[in-house]
Subunit: 119 residues, 10 copies
Amino acid sequence: MAKIEVFPNPAPQRRYIIEHVNNEFTSVCPITGLPDFGIVTVRYIPDKMCMELKSMKYYFFEFRNKGIFYEAVTNKFLDDFVEICQPIEMEIVTEWKTRGGMNSTITAKYTKNNDVITL
Amino acid sequence: MAKIEVFPNPAPQRRYIIEHVNNEFTSVCPITGLPDFGIVTVRYIPDKMCMELKSMKYYFFEFRNKGIFYEAVTNKFLDDFVEICQPIEMEIVTEWKTRGGMNSTITAKYTKNNDVITL
Amino acid sequence: MAKIEVFPNPAPQRRYIIEHVNNEFTSVCPITGLPDFGIVTVRYIPDKMCMELKSMKYYFFEFRNKGIFYEAVTNKFLDDFVEICQPIEMEIVTEWKTRGGMNSTITAKYTKNNDVITL
Amino acid sequence: MAKIEVFPNPAPQRRYIIEHVNNEFTSVCPITGLPDFGIVTVRYIPDKMCMELKSMKYYFFEFRNKGIFYEAVTNKFLDDFVEICQPIEMEIVTEWKTRGGMNSTITAKYTKNNDVITL
Amino acid sequence: MAKIEVFPNPAPQRRYIIEHVNNEFTSVCPITGLPDFGIVTVRYIPDKMCMELKSMKYYFFEFRNKGIFYEAVTNKFLDDFVEICQPIEMEIVTEWKTRGGMNSTITAKYTKNNDVITL
Amino acid sequence: MAKIEVFPNPAPQRRYIIEHVNNEFTSVCPITGLPDFGIVTVRYIPDKMCMELKSMKYYFFEFRNKGIFYEAVTNKFLDDFVEICQPIEMEIVTEWKTRGGMNSTITAKYTKNNDVITL
Amino acid sequence: MAKIEVFPNPAPQRRYIIEHVNNEFTSVCPITGLPDFGIVTVRYIPDKMCMELKSMKYYFFEFRNKGIFYEAVTNKFLDDFVEICQPIEMEIVTEWKTRGGMNSTITAKYTKNNDVITL
Amino acid sequence: MAKIEVFPNPAPQRRYIIEHVNNEFTSVCPITGLPDFGIVTVRYIPDKMCMELKSMKYYFFEFRNKGIFYEAVTNKFLDDFVEICQPIEMEIVTEWKTRGGMNSTITAKYTKNNDVITL
Amino acid sequence: MAKIEVFPNPAPQRRYIIEHVNNEFTSVCPITGLPDFGIVTVRYIPDKMCMELKSMKYYFFEFRNKGIFYEAVTNKFLDDFVEICQPIEMEIVTEWKTRGGMNSTITAKYTKNNDVITL
Amino acid sequence: MAKIEVFPNPAPQRRYIIEHVNNEFTSVCPITGLPDFGIVTVRYIPDKMCMELKSMKYYFFEFRNKGIFYEAVTNKFLDDFVEICQPIEMEIVTEWKTRGGMNSTITAKYTKNNDVITL
């Protein structure tokens, strides 16, 4: 995979929120081979490191021809990004365009104390 | 009935939310024989299994010529999907198009500890 | 009055919400004899019985030439429907179209433990 | 003043909410003699009596040529209506159209236990 | 300054809310001498006195050629109005039109028990 | 850097909120050298000093040809402004225009008792 | 096919426009066998006959399980309806829900003097 | 290239309009290698042949990893589709997502008598 | 100035329309030295050459620190672009953000036969 | 009056349109002495001279405390601006904010050959 660059958090002494939204994410359905289109929101409170935006864009490009489920890609984002920048908290939301009259949204979250999500 | 495929939850170690919305559900009124049109929302926290989207679409197609009450079909979705993927929590909302000036919404929810719904 | 049919709740083991909205209710003003137009929302958690939609529509039609106050008809709905289907909870909201520059909304609710409404 | 008719609350055994909105209220500014236009919302929980809508409309008409301050008329509504129908709770909101670039809203409330309003 | 007239609160026995919005306030920037345009909202719970609307408008006109900072004028409104009508609570919000790509909003509040505002 | 002028808080005895929004902030991406465009919101409760708007505008102009990350510039604003006017509380939000299909929002906050931000 | 009833035009001496919109048309894709959903607009100037609405609804129901192309069904509607009611002018527009990111609209028109459509 | 299937125009005796909109077109910038995203509208009056939707979708998919200019791809669509189905008239509009603050729209049209486009 | 690249019109045999919109143009006021922000629309029918988008973006960047009047820059765009790509027709519209309560729009057009613009 | 600066038309060889809109014009009603608020649009085709924006703003400021009728001020703008910059064509539109429920718009136009305005 493309390596997401990090740079030192310019304000590690302070908790603050960073949000990046990719409106043009596209991957491939692992079953039909047809393209999927989604909006990916990455929201986090950085600790020592921040993710660099341009390398993040290239990271997303690598999924352009990759077959992967919605659920898997959402959790992979969370796993990869948490590993890369070791944030204090992070949330990933992926919203997928309508396919055959159906559309989907997946939400996953990481917190250091493992807070429990409910419906 | 068409079998809804499942696949292993790619992130069983984490609670996260999956939401699928079918904007084009159609069945038949058991009394008049006329078609009903509805929007079905399925929202759940998976445990070991996720429901596969394409087979889910075929599952919904089977109701196209079936006579069934709103209340029955909503609860059948909840029963079938809970049985199929054994989620931690699940919620079904069905919204039905106007008929003779009337429209309806049915909401049902499953939680492992049987939380009580109120108006 | 037309009898509202009931059918056995297909999921009596579970608390869930049913909502029917009649966008085209009409009755007659008991004072002026002019027609009133309203939107009636019926929201309930069924116990053993559900109300059938088509007979409900006929029930509503019977008010077409009946002179009755907003407040009376709203409470009559609640009384009649509670008697017919013995729900766990039920709420009726009636919204009335503008008459001489005025419009009105009436809200009534039934719960087994008689919860108190406040403004 | 025109007398607002009341009629027996058809459901005195139950707390429920009645809301009337007069979109076309007009009175006269006591200082300039120019007409004021406002929207009056009356919201209450009836006790033994309900206010009849048509006589209420005539009541409102009587202010057409009366010079009275926004604050006074709002509180007069609350005083008159509370006296007439002895409700459990009542709230009056008057919203006044722009005059010389300024517009105003007055809100008053009656509860049996005299709850305190804050900004 | 123009004197803001007051008149006896017609309902001193009751706490209720009065809100006046001036959409056409204009003063002068004390640094550049250029005009400023703003929307002023005055919201209060009267005690013994209410502020009369027309004299309030003339009060606002006097700032037309006065050089004064946003922060100062907002607090001056609060000080003047509190002194004039001795309310139970009062809040002033001033919203200023864009200047050089920047626009501003100032919010000040008076309560008898000096409640603390936070962001 | 351009010096942001301060002037004595005209109402130091009272907590109130000042909000300035710069809709036309522009700086340069430190990696590509291309321009970035953002909306900067500065919200604070002043203590002894207020920031003067015109010098603030000149302060923002100095970033026009400066290469700096979103995260760094947001925290620099907070650090600089807190140092300049020693507020009781302050919050900075920067919203950045879409680049390569991605857009970002950064939120940082200062409080005297260091309240903790969460997602 | 179900026969669409007609009734005598009540105002044959005047040209006027009748428009019926079916928001819930559904047929089957002749290639994939999957359901298609569309909105059908029928707009016409009647001559001697008008089409009866209820029988028109049953006519549309007959396509529920029929495999037919968008272009064919649109022209079939125009041919059938022109034959049935011999209008002065008629226009059919069919708008089809998104499939695989694509949606379609077909427009056909009949005039007695065969006016030519251009893009 | 994928072959776009055609089928006989079901109503060759009549001029009517067919419009297909692809909301999810994506190709690659021939200079930067980065993905482009666009909305493609195909509008035509068929002569003897119609273009089949599913094969059209596959035709569009082939551009997913192809480097091509906006102007070239727009005219290529027009040339290819005119050759494939020999329409009476055809119009192609491509609208491209914002890149570096700029967005573009290209419009090309074919008519049998070569009508001239002006701004 | 940065040179705007051109490339051969891929469809010189056909008149078609190309439109590029720069939503983030910025230059400097020649009198105050303060930044101006505008939206630039370039619309043309190409002859032998098309303008390349990326080099166009760099061309626009060169005005970032240039002092120039709205009227001059609009006509300069038209002169430069006409010279660069020798179009059949071209239109430039510049819309400028509010300054001191005033905003401006400049429109200039080139046609081979010098059509006259009127208000 | 403040003198409106002019500068040489940078493109005198070409007819093009300049439009300036002042959203914050204010003068005084000559009868009541109360402020009037309006939007002034100046649209012209320059000949040898263009009007400079900043001096134009100061020209407008001079009306801040001047008592003048809507009709008079609109025609004065046209007379003054035509005299100052000798345009080929010029149009003035003034739109005035609501007073006592009424609002007004005045339109005046100058052309070299005195074209007659019609409704």
